[in-house]
Amino acid sequence: MNNSAPAFAAGYINNDGPKLITERFQFEDSFTLERFLNTGGYNGLRKALEKKPSEVHDEVREAVLLGRGGAGFPAGVKWGFCPEGVWPRYLVVNGDESEPGTYKDRLLMERDPHQLIEGCLIACYALGLSQCFLYVRGEMALAQERIANALNEAYEAGYVGRNILGQDFSVDIVLHWGAGAYIVGEETALIESLEGNRGMPRLKPPYFPAAIGLYGQPTIVNNVETLSNIPWIIDNGASAYKEMGSETSPGTRLFAISGHVNRPGVYEVEQGVTTFRDLFYGENFCQGIRNGKELKMFIPGGGSAPWFFEEHLDLPLEARPIGDAGSMLGSGAIVVMDETTDAVKACLRVVRFFARESCGKCSPCREGTTWEEKILRRIYEGDGRPSDIELLLDIGDNISPGPYPVAAFSEQDLEAVPFPPRQTTICPLGPSSVAPITSAIRRFRTEFETLITQRDSIPVSAAPIEVEQ
């Protein structure tokens, strides 16, 4: 078994499980057309072109391929939302990966760009999408290079562009790149950005850009990992795909496990059959918490996800049970924190992110996240006020009314509030900022209280300023 991450695929760790989308990562030249063609590349596309477009769509629907961008919506179902008879239709690939803790789309783009391109082509064929925009996060220079190079190769060789593989199938794929803004990952903001505007989410409804998207036309937005699975599914069939994973979450997923584990890395993992405990402690995976410490908490699905604790370790990696338990798998980003972690500090850091990245379009989020950060900072720096904990929860309630999704906490007889949250905002970024706050306060309230009461014991900062006469 390959124990360490190969230098050329930084972070990827082969765990002996099925490899649907990382098979080529073992090759140093995995991103070249030559290697791709030598390892089954564009077979899925060939098979797709032998079928009717609707049959290809049926195969993807049948596979129950869940979106890997965060929301976990089945791709085949979303593909069906394009209104009949409205043309042209577009494909926009979401390669804006920026959710805290998430590292897998960059790897897929750097290491296997042709696989992604093949997935895009198959989607375009199935749905009659006439142009594809591959939106890569601005900060990912190498990914942009690898995709630009792969597209140049694929155009030359007749896999992209006019009359693909000599058939009546013509699609242009254009590399587009962003310029630094987390919110652009939200699909309607992605479209705004692609239209040359400030990347602010659009008002819903319509809930899916499949109805009204780029230039007001039907637009499918899919994540890089989602589309990277399509070639395998078409090449091997939906039933082979469903033999892996669980019934509601078939196949594999990439999980980036970071933080206080012995062997952090990106693993391709069969869904449903693997648990968090397997991931954190398994020999094939992270091999335990660093320095023999105890686990304090972990984020199961990126900065936006409510935190989990020791008692959630045996949950399977599968969307539904994790949603019921009060959180989400989100973007496959798991952040492990050991007992030495300061809960207030961690909470502040994640909230600072949302405060910085709020696009400012709606006030509960714009004002709310700013105040959340300020209040958390003063608590952390020892200037907190006794009312601050309630104030934080109150601000959260303005952004996301009602009980916020949180994980169960049996010691206090608290039950889980299932995901997803309610929101007063245009997009889920606002509610995401509430996740770390409710999680930390509910579980580690005394840490907040200690910091706040310490303030009273520091007379200097509490004393009124004396003005010299």
């Binding site: 230098a7 477009p53 155009y155 562009g161 505007n197 890395g265 992110f353």
Partner: protein, 216 residues
């Protein structure tokens, strides 16, 4: 007013031609302007406005939303240190403080010799390889103070430090503004054809296969 060089103007037109609407090219064109000059000048925005048929205020309106666009000069090398949660847990903040001390500047500042600008940034999608930093958006994984110092020393002496990145990236780091060292180029005879949406209101030809009789 012409801002772009002849070669960049050619690239600008190629970029515009790859979108159904010219305004979609705004972000790539702003990057191109930044590549030419290291930052984005008023002249650049005026020229981009002309090319895409929008006002220069709209160009600024779009551009100012995005962190990567700089509307004032920055260093030849932009160093971004991630302090978000995964990196924070493994010393990202300490790395930032070291960088500040080593370069004698704080978040957002540029060294007097114009070589380095430092930023404290959000997650850059290298979380399992924490702590990490980038130089002109090229990654240095599993970094520590020594690696940081070595990278800075190499850059100061004009050598490429990319082999220290642990990412499989190689070659030189171009000056701030250049991202991809490779451009997409669609050969004219291979292009499927990019038209405004109002000019392509019919279903693509291959969709006719859906209504054809099943092959026997």
């Amino acid at each position: 007013m012409a801002y772009f060089t002849e070669e960049n103007l050619r690239r600008a037109h190629e970029i515009i031609d790859s979108y159904p609407r010219a305004k979609s090219a705004l972000i790539p064109l702003l990057h191109l302007a930044q590549e030419q000059n290291g930052w984005i000048t008023n002249e650049a925005m005026t020229h981009i406005a002309e090319l895409t048929d929008v006002t220069s205020a709209e160009v600024l309106g779009t551009g100012s939303f995005y962190e990567m666009f700089k509307f004032h000069p920055v260093g030849k090398y932009l160093i971004n240190v991630c302090t978000n949660i995964s990196c924070q847990l493994l010393g990202g903040e300490e790395l930032l403080h070291h960088a500040e001390a080593a370069l004698g500047i704080t978040d957002g500042e540029t060294t007097e010799d114009g070589l380095f600008t430092l930023e404290d940034v959000e997650c850059i999608a290298a979380c399992t390889e924490a702590p990490c930093f980038t130089v002109n958006y090229r990654y240095f994984h599993r970094a520590d103070e020594n690696i940081f110092d070595e990278v800075v020393a190499e850059l100061r002496s004009g050598r490429s430090p990319l082999d220290k990145g642990k990412q499989g990236d190689s070659g030189d780091i171009p000056s701030h503004g250049t991202l991809s060292r490779i451009q997409q180029h669609i050969p004219i005879d291979r292009k499927a054809g990019i038209t405004p949406p109002e000019d392509s209101k019919t279903a693509p030809v291959w969709m006719e296969k859906n209504t054809e009789e099943a092959k026997s």
